[in-house]
Every structure is written in structure tokens, then in C-alpha cells.
């Protein structure tokens, strides 16, 4: 450590210029050669500057990446909003004229939009709630001083490392009507007649369950597969939260004679609020982004039962070349995301967590 500091002392010029250092022998060459400027002089320099010195000093580090990301994120969103006000469609470049909200008005009368919006909200809420519940349960089970804890955790989290395209491919086979795992098991236990009777939508004649195309099951099938993929994430977050609770809280509850279930309900789970909030924000955003999964499962026309705003936006813009309408749907999606993360970021800011 002392060596690092002395090196730094040798290297740091009064002008805080970048050092040039010979890597091979570690020799230092102060750029201003034998500096006599002291840190006191530096402070005077700082005070005389109209802007904060720290801002100037740190800008070379964060400004270029922030500008790059800012251009691609916020620049693109602003641009997207501008496009949503035009009538841009078809091949060729955009014409920036006739700005109005006609694309947003069009949404209000578009049945497909309302279907997709409804599916998006159902997916968002059901997926997030069930994922949190399952993740919490698994985290509590893993937290019982079990053997092979790391192996269990690694296996439970594995689906999350897979691409949506990979998991969609696998689940297409699981849900396959003729020889998929689910229907084969159902057949094995002679439950097919019963379940077909229960789930078959009116007016359909099929004798096997068409998980991905029946309007009674399609969205649930997607939600189930997504829970499979992301409950491991909720588990990891809850596990970190559980590990942060002092052992004394468990012991105190035990001394009071609380049963295990009561202890978790009354003492432990209430302390996991922060974990639950941050996990649910991330999960909701994943749900809004579920495009890759549905696209890989059913293409860009997944049918009204499975269509979400993300797939509809892609279809409208990149299949039908209705760029302006697609941009307007994208803005709705962006506002939904903002409604999720805005309050979260604000509360984090209020608590000084940022």
C-alpha cells in the first residue's frame, strides 16, 4: 500500500495532469518535471473555479459513456416520441410533418391494442406475484442449513442463464399437443378427458389440450414458463435478504415459542420488504420485455390470446411498416415501464439509497 501511495505521490503533478509512466520498470515521470506546486496551491485553484472542481475532474470518466448511453436511450426515446406524432409508414425515410396525436387516437379504437394491453397487464401482475411467492418459498427452504446448498441454488437459477429463444424452443416441445411432456403425463394418468372438458373453449372440437392456442390456456402457459425461468432470480434476491436478518431475530421468536410458520409470517417475511420491492421491479420489467419468448414461440403473430404490447409493436412497425403507429405503441409501453420504476427510484432517492 505504501508503495502505491509513494508512486502516486511521485506521479501526481500539481496540475493533476494524466501521468505518463514507464510500465516496464515502474519509473515515474511527473509530466511537469520536479513539481513544486503543493496541494495548498491546488485548493486555491479549486476555489477560484466557477464550477465545482470535482465535476470537472470526474467528467472525463462519466461524460463520454453517459453521452453514448444517453444518445441511444433518451435520444432514441425522444426521437421515437417525435415519430409517433407523424404519419410515417411504408418504405423510405421519415417525413417530419403533420405532427398530431392521431396515432394515439387510433389505438383507442383498435381492438387488437386493447387485447394486447390487457394481456400485458395480466402477464405483468400474475407473473410477478407468483414469481415472488415461489421465489420466497424456495429461498426459505434453501435457508434451512441444508447440505449441497450451492448445488441446489445453481440448479434453480440455471433457467435464467438461458436465452428466451432457447427456453421458448424447449417449452414449445413441453406444451406440444400430440407428444409433449404435459399431455403425455396427463394421458398416462387418464386425466385427458376431464381436463379437455374443463379447459376446452366453446366451439372447439379438439380431443387433446392445445396449450398454446386455446384462449383458456395460452397466456397461462406463457406465464407458467416465465415463472419457471425467473423464480430463481426472486430466490437469489430473497436469499440475500434472509441472510441479512440477524440470527437473534430467529432465536427470539423461538424463545417466545412461535412455530416455524408463525415465526416466518410474523417476524421474518415482514423484514423482506425491500427485497420484495426490488425483485418485483426487475420482474415486472422482464414481463414487459417478454417479446423474445413469445416471438420465438409463435412468431410475430401469436394470436389475440398471447399478444402483448411488445409483440404488437414489433408486428405493426417491422412487419406492416406502420412506423408511426408502432412508435406510439412503444411510447405506451415506455409509460407503463415508467409507472413501475418511477415510484421505485423516487423512494430509493428519498431513502438516500442512490
Amino acid at each position: 500500500m505504501r508503495e502505491i501511495l509513494s508512486r502516486l505521490r511521485a506521479a501526481g503533478g500539481g496540475l493533476r495532469s494524466a501521468i505518463s509512466r514507464d510500465e516496464s520498470n515502474g519509473d515515474q515521470l511527473a509530466t511537469d518535471g520536479g513539481t513544486t506546486v503543493t496541494t495548498a496551491g491546488d485548493d486555491t485553484l479549486r476555489k477560484s473555479l466557477p464550477v465545482e472542481w470535482e465535476l470537472v475532474e470526474s467528467a472525463p470518466f462519466w461524460l463520454p459513456p453517459v453521452l453514448l448511453a444517453g444518445f441511444f436511450v433518451y435520444g432514441a426515446i425522444a426521437w421515437n416520441f417525435l415519430l409517433s406524432l407523424t404519419d410515417y409508414n411504408g418504405l423510405g425515410g421519415a417525413t417530419y410533418a403533420n405532427f398530431d396525436f392521431s396515432m394515439y387516437a387510433r389505438m383507442l379504437n383498435d381492438g387488437a391494442f386493447w387485447h394486447a394491453a390487457q394481456n400485458t397487464v395480466v402477464l405483468l401482475v400474475v407473473f410477478t406475484v407468483l414469481c415472488l411467492a415461489l421465489g420466497l418459498l424456495v429461498a426459505i427452504l434453501i435457508d434451512q442449513n441444508i447440505r449441497f446448498e450451492n448445488s441446489f441454488r445453481t440448479i434453480y437459477l440455471l433457467p435464467m442463464s438461458l436465452s428466451f429463444v432457447v427456453t421458448a424452443t424447449m417449452w414449445a416441445w413441453v406444451y406440444n399437443a400430440r407428444s409433449g411432456v404435459f399431455n403425455q403425463l396427463i394421458r398416462l394418468f387418464n386425466l385427458e378427458g376431464l381436463l379437455v372438458g374443463l379447459l376446452r373453449p366453446a366451439g372447439v372440437n379438439a380431443e387433446v389440450i392445445q396449450w398454446l392456442s386455446w384462449n383458456t390456456t395460452a397466456l397461462a402457459a406463457v406465464i407458467f414458463a416465465l415463472i419457471w425461468q425467473f423464480s430463481g432470480y426472486a430466490m437469489v434476491v430473497f436469499l440475500a435478504g434472509l441472510r441479512a436478518i440477524p440470527q437473534a431475530h430467529y432465536e427470539a421468536a423461538r424463545v417466545d415459542g412461535a412455530t416455524t410458520v408463525r415465526m416466518y409470517m410474523r417476524v421474518i417475511i415482514p423484514q423482506l420488504r425491500a427485497s420484495a420491492v426490488s425483485a418485483s421491479v426487475v420482474l415486472m420489467v422482464f414481463a414487459l420485455k417478454a417479446f423474445d419468448f413469445i416471438y420465438a414461440l409463435r412468431g410475430s403473430q401469436p394470436g389475440a390470446n398471447m399478444d402483448i404490447l411488445a409483440t404488437m409493436m414489433y408486428r405493426v412497425a417491422f412487419d406492416s411498416l406502420q412506423w408511426a403507429y408502432g412508435s406510439a405503441i412503444a411510447i405506451v409501453l415506455f409509460v407503463l415501464a415508467l409507472l413501475v420504476i418511477g415510484p421505485y427510484l423516487y423512494s430509493e432517492y428519498r431513502r438516500g439509497e442512490l
Partner: protein, 310 residues
Amino acid sequence: MSTGTRDYVEELRDMDNSRIGLYAVLLFGIVFYLFPVETAVMTMFKTQGEFARTLPFAPPSGDGFTLSALATAWNTLRPGLLNSLLMAIPATIMSALLGSLTAYGLTTISWRGQVGVVVLIIAGIFIPYQAVLVPLAQFWYQILPGLLNGFVNTVFGFVTGGNWTYPSRNGYVQLMQLSITHAAYGIPICTLLFRSYYQAISDEMIEAARLDGASAFSIYRNIILPLSLPMFAVTLIYQFTQVYNDLLFALVLVNEPAAQVATQRLAALTGGVVQSFNTTMAGAIVAAFPTLLVYIVFGEQFAKGVAGEN
């Protein structure tokens, strides 16, 4: 936890019913989280007749075993795998490096108004990418080529004769555009990961170096960077998985068949009219292989990356 034989024997003796129930549930969890992967692995070794006839999770029997589905999938996906790596590795390194620099500038050096920039960056993690798709396509396929054509032909007109056009249809150019796009959208999450790590680094060390007159750059180079190596592992692994796994940006930015990435090729394989599940399952396993390998070797870092902890 000790794994001595004596402990193990004692633990077995102490195992009561609730303990056995716990392990039974945990084992069921393994079945639940692995069965789609297991059925995929079994199915990819089966012939067309075999996978229609047998239970999906059962291993292939004698003459129902084949490697031809795997061979077909491998031949279809191989160029895509190469393209994916070519695109994902530079994008990952760029995001991690830029994320580290940003986090340093926004954490270790503190200034008023910093939190505003931090909020914008964190919000950038959560935006649905649909909200930037149309402008992205516009930028890479209309605006940028237009600007570059004009610039090159004006400045180097004596060389190009005013005929140079930006090679939008070149596969490598499309992969580079995709790579840069991923690098840019990766900056926010990488910044967040590094920032939470840098916040935990003690201020004293940095203050001492600062009082000695060290420049911001030399503090980064000599103190922060060496300390961030474990975090680079976490960030690189997490970000590589994210970029490699993406489909959406590739669909929009890559339209040359030769430049398609692995996820695009797999989606095309799955979306085929004839559902030969042995080939699609083989495709899924082949496409997942790089990330599976990374996950199995660096599972711990991946877990830290998803939890955003340090």
C-alpha cells in the same frame, strides 16, 4: 459446513421427518427446474419416429438413437454461433469498461447534482427496448449512412469520386452495428453493478492518495482498477449472457442471412413449418451451449450479477 463422515452419520441419525420432507421438496425443485432441459437433451438424440412414440424425458432406445438431428442443428447454427461471439465479446468488454469508468466518475469523486445523472442511468436499465427500436433502425439504416456518405464523398471526394456508399448490407458492418448498440445499452447495468461495488470501497485510501496529489486518472489506474477485478468478472459474465441471449436487437439490425446470430437462427429453426422436435431441441442445446458453459463454470459470479450485489 463440515463434510466429515462423523458429522454426516450424526446428521443422518438426527434427520427427522420434517428434514426428510424438506429434502424431498428440494429434489422436486430440481425436477421442476430441469425437466424442460432434460427432455430437450433426450429428444435431440431420438429419431423422428422415436420421439413421437416415447415419453419425452425417457432416454432413446437402441435403434431410436441418432446423432443426425444434432448434426443438422449444428450445421444450421454454427455460422450463427460464430457471429454471436464476434458480436457479443467486444460489446461485453466495451460495456464493462465504460460502466466501470462511469461508476468511478459518479461514485468515488462526488459532486453536487451527481444523483440526477445516476437516476437517469439507472432508469436506462429498465426501459423497454421497443421504445427505441424504430429510431435505432432509422439511425443505422438511414441517418448514419446518409451522414457518412456525405462526409466521405465531400472530404475524400478526390479518392472516391463521390461514389462511396456506406456498406449497409455488409454482414460484418451489421454485426458491428449490433455490437455497438449492445455496448451502449449495456452501460447502465454495468455502471450500476460497479457503482454498488465502489461505494463499498473505503474512502480513506482514496483520500490519502488525493491528499498526496494523485490525479483522478492515476487513482483509477492504480487503486480502483486493481480492486475492481472481481467485479469485472461478475459484470463480464452477466453482460455476456445478456448480449448473447438477445433476439430483439438482432431481428431489427441484422438482415443479411450470413450475419444472423445464433438466437436468430434458432428462432428460424423453431418457426419452421415442419416440427421436427429432435432438430429444434438439438438447436436449443447448441445455441445455449456457450451461456451454459459460462454459467456452469462461473455460476457464482452470475448469481452476484443478477442480484446486483457485490
